[in-house]
C-alpha cells in the first residue's frame, strides 16, 4: 500500500513539487514584480549578476559615447560617487521618510486589517463601507497634503503620516477583505464538528485562509505608502527624500537627484523582499 502510494507521489509530477518553482511565491501573480523564478544555483546567480553589470556598464558607455550632458543623465559612476560622498547629507532625509512611512503604514494597515476582518462578517455594513474604501483607493491622497500642511504645519510629520495611512490602509483592507471573504464552509463545518468557538473558527480557519491575501495587501500597501510618502514630501514638506528630489532637480544636481532615486529604489525593493520572505514562510501552501 504505502509502496505504491510513494510511487504515486514520486511519479506524478503534479504531486512532487520539489522540481517546480513557479509557485514558490504566492505574491508574484498579484504584484507582477517577480517572475516567481527562484535562483537555484550559482550559475543562475552569476548570469543574473552579469546581466546587471552589463546593463550598468552599457549605460555608462552609452553616456560617454553619446556625450549626454551630466545635467540630463549623469554617469552611473557619478551617481555612485554622489551616493558615497553625500550620504551624510541624505541620511536625515532617509530617516524622515522612513519614519513617516513606518508610522503611517503601521496605523493604516492595522486599521485596514481590523476593518477587513470585521466588516466581512457583516455583509450589510460591508455594502455601506465599500464605496468609501474604493474612493480612498482611487483618489490620490497626495491631494490632501497642501490642506493638511496649512493646518498642521509645513515642518510637521503628521500631514505626511496621515496621507500615508490613508493611502496604504485601504489597499491593505481591500486585499485582506478579499481573503476574509474566502470562507470554506467545509472546513468551518469540520472545525464546528469538533466544537470550535467563533473565535477558534476565526483564528484556526478564516485567518490562515486569508493570510496569503493579507500578505499581498500588506505588500501593495507598503509600496503605495512609499509612493505617497515621497509624493507628499515633494508637494508639501521641508524634509524627506521627496523634498530632496525637488531640491536637487531645481539646482540641476542630477548626480544627487539620481542618488536619491537609487535610495528610494532600495527602500522599495526592501519592502518587496521582506514580504516575499514572509509570504514564502507563512503562505507557501498556496499556489
Amino acid at each position: 500500500m504505502s509502496r505504491s502510494d510513494s510511487d504515486i507521489a514520486n511519479s506524478i509530477p503534479s504531486f512532487d513539487r520539489a522540481g517546480e518553482h513557479h509557485h514558490e511565491v504566492g505574491l508574484s501573480g498579484m504584484t507582477g514584480l517577480s517572475s516567481g523564478a527562484a535562483i537555484r544555483n550559482g550559475r543562475d546567480a552569476l548570469v543574473i549578476a552579469l546581466v546587471a553589470v552589463a546593463l550598468i556598464a552599457g549605460l555608462q558607455f552609452w553616456i560617454e559615447v553619446s556625450g549626454t550632458k551630466s545635467y540630463i543623465f549623469p554617469k552611473p559612476t557619478a551617481i555612485g560617487q554622489a551616493l558615497y560622498d553625500n550620504f551624510d547629507l541624505f541620511w536625515p532625509h532617509i530617516l524622515s521618510t522612513l519614519q513617516v512611512l513606518a508610522v503611517g503604514y503601521a496605523i493604516g494597515s492595522a486599521v485596514g486589517l481590523v476593518l477587513a476582518a470585521t466588516i466581512t462578517q457583516m455583509p450589510f455594513v460591508e455594502k455601506i463601507i465599500t464605496p468609501y474604501i474604493l474612493l480612498l483607493v482611487t483618489t490620490p491622497m497626495i491631494a490632501l497634503v497642501p490642506l493638511l500642511s496649512s493646518q498642521l504645519g509645513y515642518d510637521s510629520l503628521s500631514p505626511r503620516i496621515i496621507v500615508v495611512a490613508l493611502a496604504s490602509g485601504p489597499m491593505v483592507m481591500i486585499n485582506a477583505a478579499t481573503g476574509f471573504r474566502r470562507t470554506d464552509l467545509g472546513k468551518i463545518a469540520l472545525a464546528k464538528s469538533y466544537g470550535a468557538s467563533t473565535i477558534q473558527i476565526f483564528t484556526k480557519i478564516r485567518f490562515p485562509l486569508a493570510l496569503p491575501m493579507i500578505i499581498v495587501g500588506l505588500l501593495v500597501g507598503a509600496i503605495f505608502g512609499l509612493l505617497t510618502a515621497v509624493g507628499a514630501e515633494m508637494v508639501g514638506s521641508s524634509e524627506g527624500l521627496g523634498n530632496r528630489l525637488v531640491y536637487y532637480s531645481s539646482r540641476v544636481q542630477m548626480d544627487n537627484f539620481f542618488a536619491i532615486i537609487v535610495i528610494l529604489a532600495v527602500i522599495g525593493i526592501t519592502d518587496y523582499v521582506i514580504f516575499y520572505w514572509i509570504g514564502k514562510k507563512w503562505a507557501s501552501w498556496e499556489a
Binding site: M1, S2, R17, A189, L190, S193, K204, W285
Partner: protein, 300 residues
C-alpha cells in the same frame, strides 16, 4: 492503481478471525441491546427565497451500537440533512435526535464526521491535520499518538506525516481525513458521501479500508451514499429514503458475511439485492433522475 487494488484483496483474504457478527463480538455484555442513536419524528424544512423546501418528513429510526448503517437515496432526498442533524451542526425543524440517551443539540464529543471533501487544512502538514481535533478541543494528544501511528500504518500513510496536503493524492487525502476522525477515538462516525468524489478504483479500495476499520474497531458507522453497490457492500442495514420530502421508504438487512470482497459485488446474489433495492427506490420515484442514480450503482 490496479496493483494497489489487488494488494488490498490479498491483504483481506487471510484475516485470522473473521467476525461474522461484530456487534456481539465487540459488546460481550450486550444482552439487552439498547439503541445508541435514535431519530424521532425528524422533520426539516429549509426556508428559501422561492418558498419552503421539505427536506425531511417525520422520519424515525434507531441505530444500535456497533452497527454499520447505510442511508441510501436519490439526490435531494434529505439524507445529508439527516446526517448533519445527527452531527448537531444543523438543527431539525421538529423532532429529536438522541445519542447515548441524551439529546443532540451541539456537536457531541464522541462523534466524528467524515465529509465528501477531505477538508485537510492546506497550511498544515498531514500530522498537524490529524491532530487538528485535539487542537480545537485543547486536549493533550500525546496519549493518542500510538493509536494515530497505528491508524497511519493501517491506511498506508506512514512516512507521509510531514507532507503537505497538496502533495497527496485524493485517495490519500481522504484516508488522512479518516485517520483524523478515528484518531480521537469517537464512538459514532458519520460519513457524508465520503468517496463520492473519488474514482471507481480508489473507491473500492476505500470501501475495503472502511470495512476493515469497522471490523477491527466495532465503531458505530452511519454512512450516507447514493451508490447502491457501495451501500450493500458496507452495511448491516441499508436504509432507503424516498425522494423529497425524505421519508423512510424501506430498511434492508444485509446478511452477506464479512469480510466481503469486491469480487462478490459482481456475483448473482449481490446483484439481485442491488436490483431489489433499485426497484424500491424507483417505485417511490418513477422519473428519470432515479434511473441515472441507479445506473451509477451498477456500474460503480
Amino acid at each position: 492503481m490496479c496493483l494497489n487494488f489487488h494488494n488490498w484483496c490479498i491483504l483481506l483474504q487471510p484475516i485470522t478471525n473473521p467476525i461474522q457478527n461484530p456487534r456481539s463480538y465487540f459488546m460481550p455484555d450486550s444482552g439487552t441491546q439498547r439503541p445508541l442513536v435514535t431519530i424521532d419524528h425528524a422533520t426539516k424544512v429549509y426556508k428559501t427565497g422561492s418558498g419552503a423546501v421539505h427536506a425531511l418528513e417525520d422520519l424515525s429510526l434507531s441505530i444500535d451500537q456497533g452497527e454499520f448503517t447505510c442511508i441510501l437515496g436519490p439526490s435531494g432526498c434529505g439524507k445529508s440533512t439527516l446526517l448533519w442533524a445527527m452531527s448537531g451542526l444543523h438543527p431539525l425543524t421538529s423532532g429529536a435526535i438522541t445519542l447515548g440517551g441524551s439529546p443532540v443539540t451541539a456537536p457531541p464529543r464522541q462523534l466524528g464526521m467524515i465529509f465528501q471533501d477531505a477538508n485537510l487544512l492546506p497550511w498544515k502538514n498531514l500530522w498537524e491535520n490529524i491532530l487538528f481535533p485535539f487542537e480545537i478541543r485543547k486536549q493533550d494528544s500525546e496519549p493518542f499518538h500510538d493509536r494515530i501511528r497505528k491508524l497511519l500504518d493501517l491506511t498506508g500513510l506512514t512516512g507521509f506525516e510531514t507532507k503537505m496536503p497538496r502533495e497527496l493524492s485524493g485517495g490519500m487525502q481522504q484516508r488522512a481525513s479518516i485517520v483524523r476522525c478515528l484518531g480521537f477515538d469517537p464512538d459514532v462516525i458519520l460519513m457524508d458521501e465520503p468517496f463520492g468524489a473519488l474514482d471507481a478504483f480508489t473507491r473500492d479500495e476505500m470501501n475495503l479500508l472502511i470495512q476493515k476499520i469497522w471490523m477491527d474497531t466495532g465503531k458505530t458507522i452511519i454512512f450516507v451514499t447514493h451508490n447502491v453497490t457501495e451501500a450493500i457492500f458496507l452495511a448491516d442495514r441499508v436504509v432507503v429514503l424516498s425522494p423529497r420530502p425524505g421519508r423512510l421508504s424501506h430498511i434492508f438487512p444485509i446478511d452477506i458475511p464479512r469480510p466481503r470482497t469486491i469480487d462478490q459485488t459482481f456475483e448473482r446474489p449481490f446483484i439481485e439485492q442491488v436490483l431489489e433495492i433499485k426497484a424500491t427506490i424507483e417505485r417511490g420515484h418513477p422519473a428519470e433522475p432515479v434511473a441515472t442514480s441507479a445506473q451509477e450503482g451498477v456500474t460503480a
